[in-house]
């Protein structure tokens, strides 16, 4: 038994490419798009970024940290809330995305308003319904904190916080949020097997879903209209707001399906609490319009058994190692220290 365990570990280790001990991913995956050469990973910068990620001092009244809406135990998203809430219990306008595999993404937010991971944090920092602060306020607080001066000195050689250093450190931590160890991944490696139900679900997935939720990242990260009727209380037209191009109306960024078991509710406005509701949308809820994604223009027909099997497959994308990884969770010394 122990021998098998050792064999398993060896196979897993060989399957992962470890060009960088701080950042590894399966050999078969595409190359990341993040420009690491402009922000090479170091353990100290990652530690600084991690301290920042879990620190509620990033918000104006010290109540909201990044982890408030991106909790590790829910695959770094905000469970239970259709629309995230921030400072002073304000309710925002969108569901918080699950953070993982960010090095493979070239645009961020549901409408791609942010074009680089390094500047993504500026948005929640300054939003009056999220953290209600600013990068300038944060940098002033970091400069005044002995704890952070120590962390900056370890990371950057001197203790001075700047906007650039703060943002790049946060990026470094976020880049380490790699999820590649779900049952699905073990099956691809040959070290595990799908049940008959999961296998059928995988077959259905490849037929109906793979065009946009492309393996192995389970998203092509492109903007698409998946036929959701607009919510008249939100009137959110997605990417249109960013490009001002009418053909981008109703287009939102395709999210990853990895860890979808943990990241409910679903869609940019969290309108679906259960995966069954998501599948029902795709089989009978699609609003046909000019911008509808091409793969969705022919009807998707699934029997009740098909739907159950498809969900069984989606559950094989859950990566328990990722959500319980202590290295990604709150650091031991958090807040408390000044």
């Amino acid at each position: 038994m122990r021998y098998l365990g050792f064999l398993l570990l060896t196979v897993l280790a060989l399957a992962f490419r470890t060009e960088d001990p701080l950042f590894s991913y399966p050999k078969q995956w595409p190359k990341p798009v993040y420009a690491f050469r402009n922000n090479p990973l170091t353990a100290q910068k990652i530690a600084l970024g991690r301290a920042l990620f879990y620190d509620p001092r990033l918000s104006h009244n010290n109540s909201i940290s990044c982890a408030s809406c991106h909790s590790p135990y829910s695959a770094f998203t905000h469970v239970d809330h259709a629309l995230s809430h921030g400072i002073n219990d304000s309710i925002g306008t969108r569901n918080s995305p699950a953070l993982m595999n960010l090095a493979w993404q070239s645009s961020f937010m549901w409408d791609g308003a942010v074009n680089h991971l390094d500047v993504q944090a500026l948005a929640p920092l300054a939003h009056p319904k999220e953290m209600g602060s600013s990068i300038a306020e944060l940098v002033a607080r970091l400069r005044a904190s002995a704890h952070y001066r120590h962390l900056f000195a370890a990371a950057y050689g001197d203790s001075i916080a700047t906007g650039e250093r703060t943002l790049k450190a946060l990026s470094q931590f976020m880049l380490t949020l790699v999820s590649a160890n779900a049952k699905y991944d073990r099956v691809q490696l040959g070290t595990d097997q799908f049940t008959a139900q999961e296998q059928n679900g995988y077959r259905l997935f490849k037929t109906h879903c793979n065009a946009c939720h492309t393996e192995p990242l389970f998203s092509n990260y492109k903007f698409a209209d998946n036929g959701l009727p607009p919510d008249p209380t939100l009137n959110d037209y997605g990417r249109l707001r960013v490009t001002l191009n009418p053909t981008d109306s109703f287009k939102f960024k395709t999210p990853t399906l990895r860890n979808v078991e943990y990241s409910y509710p679903y869609m940019h406005d969290g309108r679906f609490a259960k995966l069954a509701q998501v599948i029902d949308h795709y089989t009978r809820g699609i609003r046909p319009r000019g911008s509808l994604a091409t793969p969705l223009r022919s009807p998707i027909v699934l029997s009740s058994n098909d739907k159950v099997d498809l969900i069984a497959f989606l559950l094989t994308l859950s990566d328990r190692e990722f959500v319980f990884d202590k290295r990604l969770g709150p650091p031991e010394s958090v807040v408390g220290e000044r």
Partner: protein
Amino acid sequence: MRSGCTRRTLCCIAFALLLSKGAIIAQPDNGKVTFSFLFDRAPLKLDSMYRIGNDSFRVSTLKLYISALRVLDRAKRTLYTEQESFHLIDLSDPNSNTLVVPAALLQRGAWISFCLGVDSVTNVSGAMGGDLDPTKGMYWTWQSGYINVKLEGSSSRCHSRKHEFQFHLGGYAAPFNAMQVVMLPLGGTAHEDIRLDVSALLQEIDLAAQPNILSPGTPAVELSARVAQLFYH
């Protein structure tokens, strides 16, 4: 006169010649290019109240990026390209309006070229430091991208809240790339002053109809072009 005297005289003449040459060498080899902002032909003072005709104007903030500084010869061939060329000119910081350029290049007939704003490659390259640090208040948070020109204040011509106008001009993605290239002839002195009269700009804008431009789009591009055209030397 004996040969000794002649030698001394010759030495004196030679020394004098050397000194005069030395006087040129002793000059600092750094020239200055400064950006000066005027209101109705006088230096613009932030928060001062100005009157033109029946209208009043006050400028509370003026910040803009100058980048990609180059000096070109008469035939517009590049003589000098400044490296890491990004400068945040902030009217509230009197030290921020001076750029250093090798004085030898500032010849009459030559040209100076610069960009008003930040180029699109830098706009998609993430967090930067120095004058480009996001703590400078010139980077949008809700959408990625630099604010090339920030002009804020108030005017009796605005019907907005507190009669305020706010122009945050930016945008890097086609068709709303707001960055402008400016080219001006040089006067040939070691200190070149590039000027912009803000009153000319404010009088051209229909402040009643459009007191705010706060996002990328056609208005931002058009107003950026007008700002660029108003630089003179």
